[in-house]
């Protein structure tokens, strides 16, 4: 049967470049990167070469790149590592990934912090003014994702960073004028989860103006089980795991050398991507236009303009998402849904609900996410099989 993978936002296939980079570190150069002997040094070289690739990509120094076991871990470190005492305040958004929302909710539940969950517009965008209004003297962390995993909407990270910088500067001014000694002028720390953005957007941390940035291996054609956190020099972060001195003590654990090497190779292949992005966007627009034009009662979720070039998120009126997903799966087309039935929680996507969609719209949503291996033939095939599936399911549905 034909197989069409349109779930790149869930995970990407691993590129041959990444696999090749990983291969020597299983059976040949198997040393522990902390060992002083030659086996250890081989492994160390791989880890540092990968770090260099990432530092180059992010335009930061190597000492500011920390490897983790996943992006979820990097997000947890960014959040839990900043909170050192209670009665502090965090700002985030209603549409963050669970890897950000859940550690924050945990701190909130323990009564250690107060949280402002910023709403988003119908388009899925945060209002920059809302952040300005939400910042308090005890705000220690602002965590706002670069691009959303479900709807692909891109937040104005650089603009938000500017507001945070201004707030810090006003704090410094206050310290100077009142001549009080205060060392907390580095707060709030600004974190962004850039997991979905890395493939498509500029991740130069100097331009973005962020203090912490999360990235993942398996969303960029690299291996699963590896992530990284950019930590700006001077940003006060404490470890959340305790053990050895690896990663400057911030993330103890023997380095997963092969995965780190794979991540480094994956990130190196992202440069020079303009033509690839243009191609993906062309196919995405073809898919989007084809669905909206040929299938009645469909609507795009999230901004059409401020959006990753590989994401389509559509609500099909009168049909539940998991049934669409399963029908497509039987035709070989692999997608995902924001419907509750698929999640196991019986709650529809928190992202779609935050946009102000009705339950029906949220339950009837399908995410198609394209990637560098997506072809025109695949998109044509989806556009061929999808209308009949929707028609068939609508004929069964009581909602007309």
């Amino acid at each position: 049967m034909k197989q069409v993978y349109l779930d790149y936002a869930a995970t990407t296939p691993q590129s041959p470049e990444a696999t090749k980079a990983m291969r020597p570190y299983f059976e040949k150069h198997y040393g522990n990167a902390s060992s002083l002997h030659q086996f250890g040094q081989r492994a160390r070289e791989a880890v540092e070469a990968s770090r260099q690739n990432i530092a180059k990509f992010l335009n930061c120094s190597m000492a500011e790149v920390f490897f983790t076991g996943s992006a979820t871990e990097a997000d947890n470190l960014a959040i839990l590592g900043v909170i050192k005492s209670s009665k502090l305040h965090i700002i985030t958004t209603a549409i963050e990934h669970p890897a950000v929302l859940e550690p924050i909710k945990r701190l909130e539940k323990l009564g250690e912090i107060e949280v402002t969950y910023l709403p988003v517009s119908r388009d899925g965008l945060v209002k920059v003014e809302d952040i300005e209004k939400a910042i308090r003297p005890n705000t220690v962390l602002v965590s706002i994702m670069y691009a959303n995993n479900e709807i692909g909407v891109v937040q104005p990270i650089a603009e938000i960073a500017k507001i945070i910088r201004n707030f810090r500067n006003s704090k410094i001014q206050e310290i100077i004028t009142k001549q009080i000694s205060n060392s907390n002028n580095q707060y709030p720390i600004f974190h962004t989860d850039a997991v979905q953005a890395v493939n498509y957007l500029d991740c130069d941390v100097q331009k973005l103006g962020v203090d912490l940035l999360t990235l993942s291996g398996h969303k960029i054609y690299g291996p699963k089980g590896v992530g990284a956190l950019y930590v700006k020099k001077g940003a006060a972060l404490e470890p959340i795991m305790f053990g050895g001195h690896q990663e400057q003590g911030l993330r103890p654990s023997t380095e997963n050398v092969a995965a780190i090497a794979g991540l480094g190779a994956a990130i190196a292949t992202i440069s020079n991507r303009k033509s690839q992005i243009a191609n993906i966007k062309k196919l995405r627009d073809k898919l989007l236009d084809g669905i909206l034009k040929n299938i009645p009662k469909t609507s795009l979720n999230g901004s059409a303009d401020n959006r990753l070039p590989n994401n389509v998120n559509i609500s099909f009126s009168g049909v539940e998402g998991e049934s669409i997903l399963m029908a497509l799966d039987q035709k070989g087309v692999c997608v995902s849904t924001g419907s509750a039935c698929a999640s196991g929680s019986l709650q529809p996507s928190h992202v779609l609900m935050a946009l102000g969609l009705s339950h029906q719209q949220a339950h009837g949503s399908i995410r198609f996410s394209l990637g560098k291996y997506t072809t025109k033939e695949e998109i044509d095939y989806v556009l061929k099989v999808l209308p009949d599936i929707i028609k068939r399911l609508r004929a069964i549905s009581p909602i007309k």
Binding site: E320, M326, A327, Q330, A340, C341, H359, I396, P398, I399
Partner: protein
């Protein structure tokens, strides 16, 4: 992906007895949009050779996942031709068994189908001012109450 039996996929891909029924004798509807599934069941009542009332025809319309659609389809197959009394006592576990099993999280789809049947029969009996068994009245009241209290946090 959740493994589904061949039978479940068959009923999902080619469901039996679906669509709106013209001039039904009664209709039962359960579920809600908040939870993401709605089942509507139409029945026509006739009589068998022994002059007992039977479900002569049955059709469904379902908004929901694969399991909800397959459960609805299987239900219509299983109760078509049954007497009203048999239908009231229909064991909804039969749906799961005949489908060759459902993942644990999808069992509620078969429960929903069973309730849709009970609601349709309740509708028929009350419309025609026939005696309603206490068990049926109880379940009906329970379902009505659930409908009223349902909110975002309750599925």
């Amino acid at each position: 992906m959740i493994p589904y039996s061949k039978k479940v996929l068959q009923h999902f891909n080619k469901p039996h007895n679906y669509g709106k029924m013209k001039m039904p004798d009664a209709v039962g509807e359960v579920g809600n949009l908040i939870c993401g599934d709605i089942m509507r069941l139409y029945i026509k009542v006739g009589k068998n050779a022994k002059k007992q009332e039977i479900i002569k025809d049955i059709k469904f319309e379902t908004y929901g996942c694969l399991s909800a659609i397959a459960s609805s389809s299987m239900l219509t197959d299983l109760v078509k031709g049954k007497t009203i009394e048999q239908a009231i006592n229909f064991d909804r576990q039969e749906i799961v068994q005949e489908l060759g099993g459902l993942p644990p999280i999808k069992i509620h789809c078969s429960v929903l189908a069973g309730d849709a049947l009970l609601e349709a029969i309740y509708n028929y009996l009350s419309k025609n001012k026939k005696p309603i068994p206490e068990k049926l009245t109880k379940r009906h009241q329970q379902l009505q109450k659930e409908k009223e209290t349902i909110n975002k946090n309750h599925c």
